[in-house]
Symmetry: C2
Subunit: 457 residues, 2 copies
């Protein structure tokens, strides 16, 4: 063991951290559908997006052609705090499963935000500061994005206001305190501070909130407060661009080890981790240089890819944002209150939606209790207590590894371990106490949400 060839953990050297982000869209034959103006149904122009987003980020959002973007020095410097992240060979998990498969995971949780979200948060905060803004608003579900943005804003000296989905706010009392340590203000959503929040509270008394609703609140405040813009931690093209650093590092580490992935697995909520993890691999696939099985794993309680439709929809409950074409459950969809953790967005990144529609990736869904079972198994052998979100990928990786056990195939499985579950102990407690259930929406429920989709020619 002391003289093995492939180490448990592979860290790139400092100067091997990628210096450019990779824009997957440049290699897509079928480009993701453009954002539409909700009034005119015409593609959004940069100037229409300017009241909501930072200028530089709008350029990144709309650019389907430039393959690489330089990472600015200030962002690269911040990345040194928590990057490179390790690529871990899951020897202990392989042994436990008795599989001939080789399992690797890219662990993005070794930072105070507890997840990969910091990769995009620092970029978005940097561009906001560069534009001379005073502050930003955002929403957060499980809390990782809000924490990441708080850290980045604190570093660059920006105000940060976070609308946190009420159910998470209540399930994760300490997340708020972490954000506060970094100087952010945190409001449970729907709040009574905004027009849309008051409307939703009136129409759905006792609602536990949703990302779509929190987005509407954050956008309302950003667009009505001088010197503020709105930032978003997932779904958008710009976010996937920033998150490409996950995949680029993963690819570089595998190359160093002389390994080639067969299957790449990521959990999928809005798509920020999955889109980042698969970017360079999907790029090779699109360019015909290599082939990979790529698997998105989503919660059975919020199954946008596996049970949604590919259509233009509102990005938020309040319908104040541009329309996006995506696999969606409908912007009113809210997962059952027993759904723990993140991955609760009603839609999926336009980039990933297009790739999925083109048959370039697969999608599976996982039941919550199965996910926590995989999480506990993983924690006990690999030593890391995973976030519920990340555990969806663990569940699928375990399933694929067990298939290899049956067939005897020595496949190389790579999955994204997006974060840690230190702030998810209420959910773990429910699981331990046998109080966690698996509510899966019925076909009738999903159909009712679909009826409210906007009609776009």
């Amino acid at each position: 063991m002391k003289n093995q060839q492939i180490p448990y953990k592979t860290y790139l050297e400092f100067n091997e951290i990628p210096k450019q982000w990779y824009n997957l869209r440049a290699d897509m034959k079928n480009k993701p559908a453009p954002l539409l103006n909700p009034g005119t149904h015409q593609p959004m122009k940069a100037e229409e997006l300017a009241p909501v987003f930072c200028e530089e980020l709008i350029k990144q959002e709309l650019d389907n052609d430039t393959p690489y973007f330089d990472i600015p020095d200030e962002i690269y410097e911040f990345y040194q705090m928590f990057r490179p992240s390790p690529l871990v060979r899951a020897y202990f998990l392989e042994k436990k499963l008795g599989t001939p498969a080789k399992i690797y995971y890219k662990f993005e949780g070794n930072n105070t935000s507890g997840s990969h979200k910091l990769n995009s948060a620092v970029a978005q905060a940097y561009y906001a500061k560069k534009q001379g803004l005073k502050g930003v608003t955002t929403e957060t579900g499980a809390g990782q994005w809000g924490t990441a943005l708080s850290m980045a804003c604190s570093f660059f000296g920006l105000d940060c206001k976070v609308y946190m989905v009420k159910v998470s706010y209540e399930q994760k009392p300490f997340r708020r305190e972490v954000m506060r340590t970094y100087g952010a203000s945190v409001v449970p959503s729907p709040s009574n501070e905004t027009n849309i929040g008051r409307k939703i509270n009136a129409e759905h008394p006792g609602t536990t909130g949703s990302l779509g609703c929190a987005i509407s609140e954050a956008v309302e405040v950003a667009t009505s407060t001088p010197g503020y813009r709105y930032v978003l931690g997932s779904v958008l093209n710009q976010v996937l661009l920033h998150q490409s650093i996950i995949g680029l590092e993963t690819k570089a580490a595998l190359d160093k080890l002389g390994e080639k992935a067969d299957i790449i697995i990521g959990c999928a909520g809005g798509g920020s981790n999955l889109g980042g993890l698969i970017a360079p691999f999907m790029g090779e696939k699109l360019r015909g240089e290599a082939d990979y099985r790529i698997i998105a794993v989503e919660p059975a309680s919020c199954p946008s890819l596996t049970r949604g439709v590919y259509a233009y929809d509102f990005c938020d409950t309040g319908m104040v944002c541009p329309l996006a074409k995506m696999y969606t459950l409908g912007s009113d969809f809210i997962p059952a209150p027993n759904h723990a953790g993140g991955l609760r967005y009603h839609g999926m990144s336009s980039i990933l939606s297009q790739l999925y529609d083109d048959g370039l990736m697969e999608a599976v869904s996982a039941k919550q209790t199965d996910v926590f079972e995989a999480a506990e198994l993983f924690a006990r052998v690999e030593g890391i207590l995973p976030a519920p979100e990340s555990s969806h990928a663990i569940k699928a990786a375990v399933d694929e590894a067990l298939k290899c056990k049956e067939t005897g195939e020595e496949k190389t499985i790579v999955f994204g371990l997006t974060g840690t579950g230190y702030f998810d102990m209420v959910a773990y407690e429910k699981f331990h106490d046998g109080k966690m259930d698996d509510y899966i929406p019925t076909d009738e429920e999903l159909a009712a949400y679909r009826e409210k989709l906007p009609k776009i020619d």
Copy 2:
């Protein structure tokens, strides 16, 4: 910045992780005083310790001469889960302070136990398993040790029963759930499950507990249950031996970078981190090969080195353990309930006590609110939310760096960042809300505790 010489983070290569622990005692001219039998006041023999501790660990405990111990393969393999830990150059903190000093910290918090405690937990669990035991008992204060032991026991298939100081149990509700994820059972101490627990509860109704009391309970259960032994996460010689891996890695990384430390700083409760961090440096100092300033930082509310006496004392409240010669406040001492986090033990490792008494290291104390102020400053620039314990070292490192700013000296300061504060948000919240105070025991109070010290010739 992209081409700088010294990276933000230095990881040793996989095969550079030390393969032996270093036993500092071998180089000490004045050996630490032996444990005494509480009845006879004679040095404890191995066979007297055998009902309490594992055999192999007793050998390590009593060996003052062997300089190096091989790390068994199984432990080395487990270390791959979370080692090497990074040595971080605190560029951001240096810039914030405007100091000419170079600041490095060895970050031991990147694992689910949240601290360095895992280094010894895995060793102790391994030797217990090797001896064929069924399980182990222990105490935990802030919860890191209990979590670390739970993880190690789960890995090796041992039962694990943790007596958790009641105030921590209440302040850190989610710690229990993490331990439970790893299959441990956790009992708030003093409990009503043991003779000593019932006695303490009767004599001190409403007590919030202490490490000394939790130790007594754990020892009582271990010695009265067949197939069980007691394990301890700090204070003991064996623990400092295991923790020497911190210092060995730190030294190896500094050597790689061509750096020499001037000042080495560690927080000190029972001494596990400090003793491990300084081991190879102190070894050089003892052998006359190099000189270093070595600074222990303890809480002003639990000041065993700075305000205690060097004397034989009980290790636990129930007086069931051997006597140890150490800087101590008296085994009845319990820090004020507002004291947050760990570093709440009444005494200090015999090794460190002897070194301190010999003038080979310094000690300072820090007030709680100053510690949290340093913690928040650190979190905002370095990105890591530190544990309250670790933040004592941050506070002292900042003070030394500011002295360098005044004098213009370019000293190299190395401190131990033992862990993360993700489970300490109740304490952070108090700090943010201005509800944290700084109770410092009076001379009269300390004198009263001292009067109860055992009389040893």
